[in-house]
């Protein structure tokens, strides 16, 4: 089959360039046809010429070319499904041909008895059958023999080698019996053509069914790819124009009506609506979108009509990144699969050696006809061994498990993260934005005598406007709500983990915790008790001093997310030690932890000390998961055995995180651990099954049970077992698709 390859052309500025490039390529040997799309600057080359020859030819013609492998996900998926379907039909055809000879022969052997060669007529009949079997081998089993021969030449061996050797041995021996029966003892003059045809047929059937089952393992990624819109309604020159999604440019204005899909990532510039983001985040409640808010490709606009400006298109959209990340993770292998890889590397030659030893043992010590027993046992050993089941055990489960997690809004970076997440013993949760909403509000303002609230809030919001801390933002928001605008401050500096200071006109402003005030010798003695009272109500009290005198204590509270308590209980019920980490003072931390149902907490932790705390728990022998926002907690996330970043739908693929939770709920955390545990269990079942199958099957095939029970496996049964062992692995992996995390 000819290959179609696309190249992106640079430097083609006029239509005449097209002829020049096409002519250069059409003159190349091994190019059947080259066609250029001038609008897209893409040339499609049909033929077998090498990439380097094509690029060289284009360069000689005066242009530049580079290989374009940027098929859209949907196109690639469609092509894969088409190719799989073609291959499935081919295998089924081959299976039908092989079994149409194998089954009648099998029935004959069962009804009539031994297929032996004693007379000249029988020789003639079996010669005809042998030639028909050869035809079957050529038509239905050619891929095994070609693959085996090519591998052999490369000093490697694989499943093809075993099948080719097994069926080849059975056929060759049978032909020797037909052509030269005299060199074989009378009792050993059996033919095994039915075994050859049946094995080829059954293995093709197994492969075909495996393709079908494999298709189901990638359903999650198919669903994600299916979320991508095909067209977008862009507003160009004041008119609505439906354009293919590939043609959407940055800053294009896109109109979306109720019920339509958001085509690319963007920012709402007009209108108001609610958007269903559940397909990406797992969050069932639609999210309100107004001017200035982000919308994400693949989500569905529910109630109103909006216009948004495209901010990320093509492979940069959150959805494209999610698909990419899921695909990469699905293809990665957790450490548990490495042993199977090592075994696979030595497996086939070892099986070949066992087959030879088995034949020798039968020839030396076996009953009569020893030759026939030797041939049957060697063939059966070669056929029953299944390296594929071992090779498939891990990747198939990872494929389904990672996809299943993505459906729940959990993005797992790789197989290693998946495996480690299943073993977590301690989960450290950052407080702000993880357990709590991360959107604190001012609850109390305790003024010092003679102070004016408006003036205090103005100064407080002025100094806090320079800080990105959520508590600072709460003060700024609170002032804004009272129509108090912050003023410009100078000499702003942040004191890590303690507070901020700045100058406003001639005044020195200092805003922070008790520690900071004490360090600067500011008298807060009259307010410590009141502040502790606020802290015991899960509020965070902060001191505000102007020119070294305390002017107010401002308390801010960050409400606990509605489902945090349930999710934390889920983690604890799974035997995971949950620890809360916060920069808050001890009293506030204690109150929040108690509300959230957490007994263990670490308060007053500086941001830079979070990673040390993770290390402390690791040194206690714990396998530590750390959950935070992925930005402030990046070092701690990176230090943990598994770092979980809690996102808000659009924050995908957070670099420092091993696992990204796309919705804000901590249930995502419990889901991630549950799905990783289920996947690891599935992998273990698969590996165990594959190991046991081979460990038990090979000796059985060699005939170890014969001396005790007179049992010897037929090569046909071995072929069926081998064909269905891989299928069993894929089917078991598919069971994971039924996994549902329980939110209780």
């Amino acid at each position: 089959m000819l290959t179609e390859t696309r190249f992106i052309i640079e430097g083609a500025s006029c239509a005449s360039c097209v002829n020049k490039i096409e002519a250069a390529l059409n003159n190349l040997p091994r190019v059947d046809r080259a066609e250029m799309n001038f609008a897209q600057r893409v040339v499609t080359v049909i033929g077998d010429a090498s990439v380097s020859n094509i690029i060289e030819a284009v360069e000689k013609a005066g242009y530049k070319a580079k290989l374009d492998d940027s098929d859209s996900e949907q196109e690639a998926l469609d092509e894969k499904e088409k190719a799989d379907w073609q291959y499935y039909k081919k295998l089924m055809r081959e299976m039908a041909v092989a079994l149409s000879l194998g089954v009648p022969l099998m029935i004959y052997s069962l009804l009539v008895g031994e297929m032996t060669v004693t007379t000249n007529t029988e020789r003639l009949v079996w010669l005809t059958v042998g030639l028909l079997t050869l035809g079957v081998m050529f038509f239905a089993g050619k891929h095994f023999y070609v693959g085996a021969w090519n591998s052999f030449k490369n000093h490697s061996a694989n499943m093809d080698t075993l099948i080719a050797l097994g069926t080849g041995t059975a056929w060759l021996y049978s032909m020797v019996v037909v052509f030269a029966p005299d060199i074989v003892p009378l009792m050993a003059r059996h033919v095994y053509f039915e075994a050859t045809a049946m094995i080829i047929g059954l293995i093709n059937l197994g492969l075909a069914l495996e393709i079908k089952a494999r298709g189901k393992t990638s359903e999650a990624i198919k669903r994600l790819i299916g979320l991508q819109a095909k067209t977008a309604r862009a507003i160009r020159d004041g008119k609505d124009v439906d354009i293919p999604i590939e043609q959407v440019l940055l800053d294009d204005l896109i109109r979306v009506r109720p019920g339509e899909k958001i085509s690319v990532d963007g920012m709402v510039v007009e209108g108001h609506s609610t958007v269903d983001e559940s397909m990406l985040t797992g969050e069932p409640m639609p999210v309100e979108k107004t001017q200035g808010e982000e919308v994400v490709a693949g989500t569905i606009n529910k109630s109103g009509s909006i216009i948004f400006k495209a901010t990320r298109v093509g492979k940069d959209t959150a959805l494209a990144q999610i698909i990419n990340m899921v695909k990469r993770a699905q293809n990665s292998k957790p450490p548990i699969g490495r042993l199977a890889d090592v075994i696979s590397a030595y497996f086939v030659p070892v099986v070949m050696i066992i087959a030879v030893i088995s034949a020798l043992v039968w020839l030396n010590f076996g009953p009569s006809p020893a030759v026939a027993y030797a041939i049957v046992s060697a063939t059966t050993v070669l056929i029953i061994a299944c390296p594929c089941a071992l090779g498939l055990a891990t990747p198939m489960s990872v494929m389904v498990g990672v996809g299943k997690a993505a459906e729940a809004g959990v993005l797992i970076r790789n197989g290693e993260a998946l495996q480690t997440a299943s073993k977590i013993t301690t989960m450290i949760l950052d407080k702000t934005g993880t357990i709590t909403e991360g959107a604190p509000k001012v609850t109390d303002v305790l003024l010092a005598p003679g102070q004016n609230e408006k003036q205090v809030l103005m100064l407080a919001s002025s100094i806090e406007a320079g800080s990105e801390h959520p508590l600072a933002m709460a003060i700024v928001e609170s002032a804004k709500a009272k129509n108090i605008e912050p003023k410009k401050v100078t000499q702003f500096s942040s004191i890590a983990g303690q507070g901020v200071e700045a100058k406003f006109e001639e005044d020195t402003l200092l805003f922070g915790n008790e520690k900071l005030m004490k360090q600067r010798d500011i008298d807060i003695s009259d307010y410590i008790e009141k502040a502790q009272g606020l802290a015991s109500e899960a509020k965070t009290p902060m001191y505000f001093a102007v020119n070294s005198s305390l002017v107010a204590v401002i308390a801010v509270a960050d409400p606990i997310k509605t489902d945090s308590i349930d999710a934390i209980k889920r983690l604890q019920n799974n035997g995971i030690r949950v620890v809360m980490l916060t920069g808050d003072n001890r009293s506030t931390a204690k109150a929040v932890a108690e509300k959230a149902g957490i007994t263990e907490f670490v308060a007053e932790v500086m941001p830079e000390d979070k990673a040390n705390k993770v290390a402390e728990y690791q040194s206690m022998g714990e396998i530590v998961g750390m959950t935070g926002d992925g930005i402030n907690d990046a070092p701690a996330l990176a230090h943990a055995d598994v770092g979980f970043a809690i996102g808000t739908g659009t924050d995908v693929a957070i670099e420092s995180a091993d696992i990204t939770l796309m919705r804000g709920s901590l249930h995502g955390l419990a889901d991630a651990i549950a799905v990783s545990k289920a996947t690891l269990t599935n992998i273990k079942q698969n590996l165990f099954g594959a190991f046991i199958y081979n460990v038990a099957g090979i000796p059985f095939a060699a005939g170890v049970l014969y001396p005790f029970f007179g049992l010897l496996l037929s090569p046909v049964i071995a072929g069926a077992a081998m064909a269905f062992s891989s299928l069993t692995v894929v089917t078991n992996a598919n069971r994971l698709r039924l996994f549902k995390a329980k939110e209780h």
């Binding site: 390859t5 290989l67 090519n150």
Partner: protein, 117 residues
């Protein structure tokens, strides 16, 4: 029987030699574009040699419909790529220190190696 047993032992020795002990004759360091054909159960060529500390691209051309050929994995480089049928896929290698890097399909039916010198 002696001859049969001897033949069997020789056969075992040949299997060990051919699949495990055989050392390939030295192959040239590849210059320019590298293209590997995935066809009929093998990578062709299955062994390539490149220079250390050079960024290189390898083009994999999958012409084999069997699903085994679909995934390419270079475990040590954490590379795992789907190879579309009858298409060419570019795999970019980072600057690598000297050593051997195996590449194979998911089930290790197809095997190859990159020698970096």
């Amino acid at each position: 029987m002696l001859w049969i047993n001897l033949t069997g032992i020789v056969l075992i020795a040949l299997i060990i030699w051919w699949f495990w002990l055989y050392k390939e004759q030295s192959i040239r360091i590849a210059e320019g574009s590298l293209e590997i054909l995935v066809k009929d159960g093998i990578y062709q060529p299955s062994h390539i040699k490149i220079r250390a500390n050079e960024e290189r691209q390898i083009v994999f051309h999958r012409a084999d419909a069997t699903p085994c050929a679909e995934m390419l994995s270079i475990p040590e480089l954490d590379i795992s790529e789907r190879l579309p049928l009858n298409k060419k896929t570019v795999i970019s290698l980072p600057r690598l220190p000297a050593g051997e890097y195996a590449f194979h399909c998911q089930m290790q039916m197809y095997k190859g190696k990159i020698t970096v010198q």
